[in-house]
């Protein structure tokens, strides 16, 4: 059997203590910023059974025509839905951030048509006792259009 020296054990035990300590500390007092530590808050919020479920989607505009849905995905625009959700307040303050999505789309898909506009749609579904009731409501949250 291969045994560790006293020093090697001490270094490893100290490492374990630091890792476990940081995990607990950031779970109780930390927030997402402290990745790779931080509270493991996947699905951690409680939703009201009689509340609403909201999610965003993205629409593009080709040559100032109709708006149509486009994927809110890293391969299409560089970000995914959760990332847009995390930064939506900044986007509302600065709609030019949507222009940047149109630009990253051109870089990610050079053969595709370029967009004349991008907008964010909020979709809302009401729940009653955790059961969806009524139709999904769509509303425009923020729009960027290229100046004509």
């Amino acid at each position: 059997m291969t045994q560790l020296s006293v020093r090697a054990r001490r270094v490893r035990l100290a490492t374990s203590a630091v890792v476990i300590g940081l995990l607990f500390f950031t779970t109780v007092w930390g927030h997402d910023e402290y990745f790779p530590f931080a509270p493991m808050r996947m699905f951690a919020t409680a939703n009201k059974p009689d509340g609403v479920v909201r999610w965003f989607s993205l629409q593009k505009q080709l040559s100032f025509g109709e708006w149509q849905g486009t994927a809110l995905s890293p391969t299409n625009v560089g970000i995914n839905r959760a990332e847009l959700e995390g930064q939506i307040d900044r986007v509302i303050d600065n709609p030019e951030m949507l222009r940047m999505l149109a630009e990253s789309h051109v870089r990610l898909d050079p053969d595709g048509a370029s967009w004349t506009g991008v907008r964010v749609i909020r979709n809302i579904q009401h729940l009653e006792d955790s059961v969806p009731v009524g139709d999904v409501v769509h509303e425009v949250v923020v729009t960027w259009e290229r100046p004509r």
């Binding site: 509270p39 808050r41 951690a44 995905s73 625009v77 959760a82 959700e85 006792d129």
Partner: protein, 289 residues
């Protein structure tokens, strides 16, 4: 007490177990970077305005991602993993890959959303180099291998347990009977999961199951091996069911969970160089006066 803690952390395990897990980790890493989670590529193409650096990104300070940085990280990770698969320079390559992967993850998580699906996997990358040279044919027990695997197990279990604590912190006791699972099914449910919305008790029961499973997960660390295998199989089933319901699966976390399994047994015994032998009885230690 200290002796018991030490015995638990350094319980010797076969070197080959680490060697097999290393092969799986580096193979998975290539797959992850190129196919499963190449999100950093999109981030490199984004305007810097979208960059929302993490604490570590500001403190070090790490560069704002660009297409060049992304290419360097992907190239370095793929080449590093390929060398890692050969078992050459295990320490140098191990640290190189671990640090690069951390930076790659920071690029992935610095645009408005942080995911916690890979703490155990990142820990695995960081402990692999501490074991050094390890052959899949070497089943001799090693304390270094034991500690490394223990740390990965802790990382995997912490992912559940701390997710449970985070639910209590953010959702509180309302989480148990809330509509969190219903919300996730409305937002991204598959054909298999959508019908459950008509039977909300199934979703509430799922929440109770998740919370109890997460808060009791540390028990897994202290069970006998046979029970660990059974529970790990159950956890795999849970993650596959989650994928079928809402198309979310924590692949890197599944790799970390493998640290509970006797992976060395995938190598046929005719290839084994040093068969497991019962440890020779230790000479009696002098009793301190």
């Amino acid at each position: 007490m200290t002796a018991a803690v030490s015995r638990w952390f350094f319980a010797p395990l076969p070197v080959a177990r680490v060697a097999v897990l290393r092969l799986i980790a580096y193979l998975f890493l290539i797959l992850d970077v190129l196919y499963l989670r190449p999100w950093g590529v999109g981030h490199g193409e984004l305007d810097a305005e979208w960059y929302a650096p993490l604490w570590i990104g500001r403190a070090l300070p790490l560069p704002t991602p660009t297409p060049l940085l992304v290419d360097i990280l992907i190239g370095g990770l793929v080449v590093g993993s390929l060398i890692g698969l050969t078992g050459r320079f295990p320490r140098l390559v191990g640290w190189f890959v671990a640090v690069l992967y951390l930076q790659w993850m920071i690029v992935s998580m610095s645009y408005g959303k942080v995911d916690h699906d890979r703490f155990g996997f990142m820990l695995l990358l960081f402990v692999l180099p501490t074991v050094g040279r390890a052959s899949v044919r070497d089943r001799s027990p090693s304390e270094a291998a034991g500690w490394a695997l223990r740390m990965v197990q802790i990382g995997a279990v912490a992912t559940y347990f701390l997710a449970g604590l985070a639910k209590l912190r953010y959702g509180g006791l309302a989480w148990f009977n809330g509509a969190t699972v219903a919300r996730s099914v409305v937002r991204r449910g598959t054909e298999l999961a959508l019908p459950l919305l008509d039977h909300p008790w199934t979703l509430r029961a799922t929440q109770w199951f998740i919370m109890i499973m997460e808060l009791t997960s540390p028990v897994l660390l202290f069970l006998k091996a046979r029970w660990q295998y059974l529970i790990v199989a159950g956890l795999f089933a849970f993650h596959i069911a989650t994928f079928m319901g809402i198309t979310i699966i924590f692949f890197p976390h599944l790799v970390a969970l493998l640290s509970f399994l006797p992976l060395e047994r995938v190598i046929p015994s005719r290839f084994v160089r040093t068969p497991t032998v019962p440890a020779a009885p230790r000479p009696a230690e002098p009793v301190p006066a």
